[in-house]
């Protein structure tokens, strides 16, 4: 005869909580809540999934409440606990929503999450060297800041992500070479990332690509996450900056802060930063999840569309994605070097030809990129 050692009956609730807190895989927690009614009720009542999600993503501490959209209701809700009450229904809803969130956040599909470029703190030769150039890896083009005599003057690049709710794991940046003289690399000394949301629903419109005047980022956006500072190598290759933990970007806005200018331009003696490619790696949680930001508190409502199907992009395995990018970048650089050789190093002629050729190259490149 088997001895029943149902912990819930034998142990203090505190100890049972302690045991279950060691389970970090959301699947384990779901299975535990499927053992029996009392185990299910215990998991719901103690909010284990909410605690698990909060441990994974401290950004979720700003959740005011959760909502379920498109939930099919049976004629009468199946009884979910010993006493049906508003509070219990709220706990049960938290349980379902956070369980789904934990599961999607721990699945390892990754994609490039940038949707569009918003603005740069300064741009040289606008619009030829605009931030828009950083979205495509292969093209022999780049964003350039304006020149500064003070090398400590920072720059920022702001991007909009694919949705307002993304998990971001790393950001990759390729600084630009200068091919005219000896291979100068216009990177920064270090880089830092912020994520957040626009202050108001209309703020994004006033701060868009196409303005040669940059918006004041701190007036327009609220930053809810700031990464540590990463040193940047003085190398013109795709540099990977892996965040210490995956981060939930709530609001879909990402800022790259480029700190300290490394390279002075020979012609005018000013310090510039030039970036040729930016990639933000992670996954969008839309349409299964979306957020509504509540101003002015800055808290938000987490909404789970129970019928929202995940779009699964044809994601590249991580290494492959980076190899392709590097290869395409090298092709772009060789193209420009070839032009320089032909023209005997005449800088202005190179710029002219870049523009002229860019139309054709774009079509070709887009086909390659999609492969």
């Amino acid at each position: 005869m088997e001895v029943c050692i149902d912990f819930l009956n034998w142990l203090d609730p505190d100890i049972s909580v302690q045991i279950l807190m060691y389970l970090e895989d959301p699947s384990d927690l779901v299975r535990v809540s499927s053992l029996s009614r009392s185990w299910r009720d215990f998991v719901i009542a103690n909010g284990f999934f909410k605690h698990l999600c909060l441990r994974m993503f401290p950004q979720l501490s700003r959740v005011a409440r959760v909502m379920e959209l498109n939930k099919c209701r049976a004629k009468k809700p199946v009884e979910v606990g010993s006493s049906y009450s508003m509070e219990w229904e709220s706990l049960a809803r938290d349980h379902r929503v956070y369980a789904t969130l934990a599961q999607v956040c721990t699945s390892f599909i990754i994609e490039d999450c940038i949707s569009e470029a918003i603005s740069a703190s300064s741009t040289d030769h606008y619009p030829n060297e605009s931030i828009h150039n950083t979205l495509v890896p292969w093209r022999a083009s780049y964003w350039s800041s304006k020149g500064q005599s003070n090398p400590a003057e920072p720059e920022t690049l702001i991007y909009k992500l694919k949705s307002e709710f993304c998990v971001i794991t790393e950001i990759n940046i390729c600084p630009d070479h200068e091919l005219i003289s000896s291979w100068h690399i216009y990177s920064s000394n270090s880089v830092r990332f912020r994520m957040g949301h626009p202050k108001g629903p209309n703020d994004l419109g006033s701060c868009h690509l196409g303005d040669s005047l940059p918006c004041n980022a701190d007036d327009t956006f609220i930053w809810t996450y700031t990464s540590p500072e990463f040193p940047m190598a003085q190398e013109g290759c795709l540099q990977k900056f892996r965040l210490p933990e995956p981060v939930l970007c709530i609001g879909g806005i990402l800022q790259i802060e480029l700190l300290g200018r490394a390279q002075r331009h020979e012609m005018d003696g000013l310090f510039y930063i030039c970036i040729s490619y930016v990639q933000v790696v992670g996954r969008s949680l839309s349409p299964t999840f979306c957020v509504e930001i509540l101003e002015p508190s800055g808290t938000f409502v987490l909404k789970n569309d129970t019928q929202g199907k995940f779009y699964t992009p044809p994601s590249l395995p991580k290494n492959e994605a980076h190899e392709i990018s590097d290869d395409q970048l090298q092709r772009g650089f060789r193209y420009r070097q070839h032009l320089v050789n032909i023209l005997g190093g005449n800088e202005y002629a190179v710029e002219f030809i870049d523009e002229y050729e860019s139309g054709e190259e774009e079509d070709e490149a887009e086909v390659e990129y999609a492969l």
Binding site: D6, I15, Q18, I19, D28, R31
Partner: protein, 126 residues
């Protein structure tokens, strides 16, 4: 501090909370911890050795003993062991482990499996 309750245990002759067998397992732990604290791998091996011979039923008693003796490190260790024992295991396996029976209505369990289908895949073989 760790040994206050232990002292109390020895003083209290009429102690029903902790059987002798359990005590002999739990009480040497502090010394062992101190001796091989630096070497995590050794500690792991010692812990694995300790638990190889422990039946699931005894784990509850070990936890109760560690709790009564107010021995936090042992309590953490035993709790972690239970969690490790049920990680990535099927629902049936875990029910057997705890000696539980399902008290769900016929439709309820299916509904759970359907709602969280992703969590029932890829478990270890029983």
């Amino acid at each position: 501090m760790k040994f206050c309750t232990v002292k109390q245990y020895f003083d209290d002759e009429n102690n029903n909370n902790v059987t002798n067998g359990i005590a002999t397992t739990v009480i040497p732990l502090p010394n062992k911890h101190l001796k091989i604290k630096a070497n995590n791998k050794e500690m792991e091996q010692y812990e694995q050795e300790l638990l190889r011979n422990v039946m699931p039923q005894e784990l509850t008693k070990l936890i109760l003993a560690a709790n009564y003796l107010n021995f936090k490190e042992a309590l953490d260790f035993f709790c972690r062991t239970v969690a490790n024992a049920i990680q990535n295991k099927s629902v049936d396996y875990v029910r057997k482990f705890f000696g539980l029976e399902s008290d769900f209505e016929p439709g309820e369990e299916e509904k759970l499996c359907k709602e969280f289908a992703w969590s029932f895949e890829g478990v270890d073989e029983d």
